[in-house]
């Protein structure tokens, strides 16, 4: 059972890891639905997919609203079919030292990065259980296991996501649905571009491969977990970080 012709939902697909993942799945023949928070983001996803010659389109989605999630999943199901591959990639950072962190900085990161996974998994599970086939891949972070200064909210959300991944994997295994996570290290995206030069340099000394990863290098791991080749892997978190977090 290949993923050709199956509908893959990728959140946060207008740039970075999400976009690279959308293209990797498109290359494997999936119908890719990428989401963005804005109309222009959704438009650019549609155009990007068309340029690459992949099937699919962009949708506007607010992952912090169950109503938005439900209506987008419904629209995708009506236009294409129920998404059987779901990549929970959308995420934000709101870094601050804990002593300065405001409650809304904590809440917004937990809501966007963690609760969104609950919302989307819940909205798409019906289609997967019916099909007796499904793939969920959650995009975590190396920070979930290593921790990072100024990212208590982000690390908590990502570690929470990995726990969710294991619990969910047990719940739906009997329906031939696998749930896994990919934990990227430091990848060259807008998110890491925001880091100060000094932190950037210090970072490279901790990475055995001595460079930032490319979004495509994460996308390859996600595409593998979404493929039939990964059918016996579930509840796992795959570390893709240039060796910075060997265990």
């Amino acid at each position: 059972m290949s993923i050709e012709g199956k509908v893959a939902l990728v959140t946060g697909a207008s740039r970075g890891i999400g976009r690279a993942t959308a293209y990797a799945l498109g290359k494997m023949g999936a119908i890719v639905v990428g989401t963005a928070t804005s109309e222009s983001g959704a438009q650019s996803i549609s155009e990007g997919l068309a340029e690459q010659g992949y099937k699919g389109k962009g949708y506007v989605l607010n992952v912090t609203s169950q109503e938005s999630v439900d209506s987008v999943v419904k629209a995708i199901t009506e236009e294409f079919s129920a998404p059987l591959i779901v990549i929970n990639n959308a995420g934000i950072t709101q870094d601050n030292l804990l002593m300065r962190m405001k409650e809304d900085e904590w809440d917004s990161v937990i809501d966007t990065n963690l609760k969104s996974v609950y919302r989307i998994a819940k909205a798409t599970m019906r289609g997967m259980t019916k099909a007796r086939w499904g793939r969920i891949v959650n995009i975590s972070s190396v920070v979930a296991t290593m921790g990072n200064m100024g990212q208590s909210n982000y690390a908590a959300a990502k570690a929470g996501m990995e726990g969710f991944t294991r619990a969910m994997a047990r719940e739906v295994a009997s329906r031939n649905i696998t749930v896994n996570a990919v934990a990227p290290g430091f990848i060259a995206t807008d998110m890491t571009h925001a880091l100060p030069e000094e932190q950037h340099k210090a970072l490279l000394t901790q990475i055995p491969l001595a460079r930032l990863g490319q979004p495509e290098e994460i996308a390859n791991a996600v595409a593998f977990l979404a493929s039939e080749g990964a059918s016996y892997i579930t509840g796992e978190t795959l570390q893709v970080n240039g060796g910075m977090n060997m265990r």
Binding site: T129, E171, V172, S174, R175
Partner: protein, 77 residues
């Protein structure tokens, strides 16, 4: 047009993978028909779709046999 009883039994048969002739009104989904917790959730969702109704969680918990499912649908038509 089939009766509610027939429609309920058909759904139970499809969802739980048991033959319709093995299903009686007294059949318990878990004890007699081998349903697990996920099966019962899926079953309720299938009933919701078939009868175009929403079954609240606290009501869904009370539906443990074929007869209870039929009764629920009849009383919420």
């Amino acid at each position: 047009m089939s009766t509610i009883e027939e429609r309920v039994k058909k759904i139970v048969s499809e969802q739980l993978g048991v033959k319709e002739e093995e299903i009686t009104n007294a059949s318990s989904f878990v004890d007699d028909l081998g349903a697990d917790s996920l099966d019962t959730v899926e079953l309720v969702m299938a009933l919701e779709e078939e009868f175009e109704t929403e079954i609240p969680d606290e009501e869904a918990e009370k539906i443990t046999t074929v007869q209870e499912a039929i009764d629920y649908v009849v009383s919420h038509q």
